[in-house]
Amino acid sequence: MEKLLEVRDLEVSFLTYGGEVQAVRGVSFDLHRGETLAIVGESGCGKSVTANSIMRLIPQPPGRITNGTIQFKHKELITLPENQMRKIRGVDISMIFQDPMTALNPTLTVGNQLAEGLKQHTSVSAKEAKQKAVELLDLVGIPNPEERLSLYPHQFSGGMRQRIVIAMALICEPELLIADEPTTALDVTIQAQILELFERIQEQTGVAIILITHDLGVVAKIADRIAVMYAGKIIEVGTKKEIFYHSQHPYTKGLLNSVPRLDRREGKLIPIDGTPPDLFSPPAGCPFTARCPKAMEVCDRVYPLETNLSSTHQVECWLQDERATKLLASK
């Protein structure tokens, strides 16, 4: 499969009155065409910042991409001039935000908001743009699309609005869709519908999806690969199977243990004690050390190297280090 996006050593900081927050601290991952990558992690771990960095939508200032490369189809995005970047946003890479209630402009009709992206980037006529808008609304499953173009966002329900937001993101036929918590603000039943919509769209258009979420249920449904983020770093990445059944990082295991499961008898969920570290002054070693049940002395001092468990499964944990295995075996 062809590589669509390659992120290497991405570092993003925010300058605040309290000091510099290192929100993303060296994130690397690849994305192939037509693939769905889920980035999971708890609030404040840097997953949204990573997504916004790809779109170059980090508010600058206070935000700043301090290091790293983001290559989209072998084109470097970080150094791209703003007017060039504008031609990528919405055309090659689209983004969907969390809350459909606020993502649409309340004073403009849905048709207007759908068509404006297309009008900006192509030289279509108003009639063609309208035609395309109708097509997209139909694709995302909105009945009577033609009549609905002249309605305003407040005349739709939350689930419908998210469908419109998705249609809006797809109107220029992008190759990459970044969805930042697309189902978090929705009812559970609507969530399932929206996830099915993502699957269907991917089948029909072949768009690659980066899904940002903290909901492992969502991930289990549609992700091909999963990257687990913690304190601004990707600590484990692998295929869906590898993460759900063979996760090796204590944090990933902790996450999975804190989710209700049907195949387990004991009714009690096991939370991860403690809170993530302060990113004003992140620890030198593994940031999970303080909460890790298997922490060793080395964890606190040196950040672990990446260990390849398979060609697709990488983890950053001292327990998986070759030397650690030997040590444990000798005990």
């Binding site: 946003r89 606020t102 402009n105 403009l108 404006e116 992206g117 900006q120 407040h154 809006m168």
Partner: protein, 310 residues
């Protein structure tokens, strides 16, 4: 929509009637009469005059006569200038006051919005501080102080603009500037804060994620939403500008309504006071009605016809 307009129109008439009634009784509660200063007239003449203007009748009868004059839109001749009717005065003075008011509100709205948007876009930058300094000065300096200052500097010292009267567009510059600065400052501050709020909204981020041009994001997506509070305050500002014209007209010797209005109050020229008050209150209420209509046009969530059912 038509139902709403009819309903609003009836309310407008009621409002004007209340204002007219209040003005009538307030005016008559102030001691004095139009003929106090005319020392030459003897008591018989004075009594005749009062009888002629129905001033000797009980207050309630006078009120009824006054209501009739409102209904027929004929306020009769001025007591102080018997050769002119109130309608003559209004016909002559109001167009000039109206011109000054309209030019002022246009200048205030456009410059205020532009200043506010620039300040919001360059938030905490030099332009922002400069714009807000101008705004604070504009709000805190009374327009009559600014007017005298402008005349002294721009007209007398540097001789750029004429100091007074109302005969050409150049004559309009100083009075408009004096009158527009206050409202402009208020609009600028309001636009800035509401623009800053709107710019952090999710739909602005959505618009940016679509790759729209920055000017399109600002004008189409941000400004339309940011203008709601400005439209709301426009009604109040209109009232301020309307009464502000009286003072400014006096300073710049502009032959608008202001002079007649102030004179009429000082001289207890009842027909003129009543006529201008009714006329001005109707004008203001009508402007507020237009503002409400504009509000509905700006924000589709406000629907006029929904109020019918209430």
């Amino acid at each position: 929509m038509t139902k709403y307009i009819i309903k609003r129109f009836l309310i407008m008439i009621g409002t004007v009637l209340i204002i007219a009634t209040l003005t009538f009784f307030l005016m008559h509660a102030i001691p004095g009469s139009p003929f106090n200063e005319e020392r030459s007239s003897n008591e018989v003449v004075q009594a005749n005059l009062e009888a002629h203007y129905h001033l000797n009748e009980p207050l309630f009868i006078q009120y009824l006569i006054y209501l009739k004059s409102i209904a027929t839109l004929d306020f009769g001749p001025s007591i102080k200038h018997p050769t002119q009717t109130v309608n003559d005065l209004l016909g002559r003075g109001f167009p000039i006051s109206f011109e000054l008011g309209i030019v002022t509100i246009l200048v205030a709205v456009f410059s205020g919005i532009i200043l506010g948007v620039l300040a919001a876009l360059k938030h905490n930058g030099i332009i922002d501080y400069l714009a807000m300094t101008i705004a604070v000065l504009g709000i805190s300096i009374p327009n009559f102080v600014l007017a005298t200052l402008l005349i002294q500097k721009l007209a007398v010292d540097w001789d750029i603009f004429p100091a007074a009267t109302w005969s050409s567009p150049v004559h309009m510059v100083l009075p408009t500037l004096a009158l527009a600065t206050g409202p402009m400052a208020i609009i600028a501050r309001l636009t800035r804060s509401s623009m800053l709020e709107v710019l952090t909204q999710d739909y602005i981020k959505t618009a940016r994620a679509k790759g729209l041009m920055p000017y399109k994001i600002i004008i189409k997506h941000a400004l339309k939403n940011a203008l709601m509070p400005v439209v709301t305050i426009l009604g109040t500002l209109l009232a301020g500008i309307l009464t502000g014209t009286f003072v400014i007209e006096k300073i710049f010797a502009i032959p608008g309504m202001g002079r007649y209005f102030i004179e009429s109050i000082n001289q207890r020229d009842y027909p003129v006071i009543m006529g201008t008050t009714v006329f001005y209150s109707f004008f203001l209420v009508f402007m507020l009605f237009l503002v409400d209509i504009a509000y509905g046009l700006l924000d589709p969530r406000i629907k006029m016809h929904k109020k019918e059912g209430e």
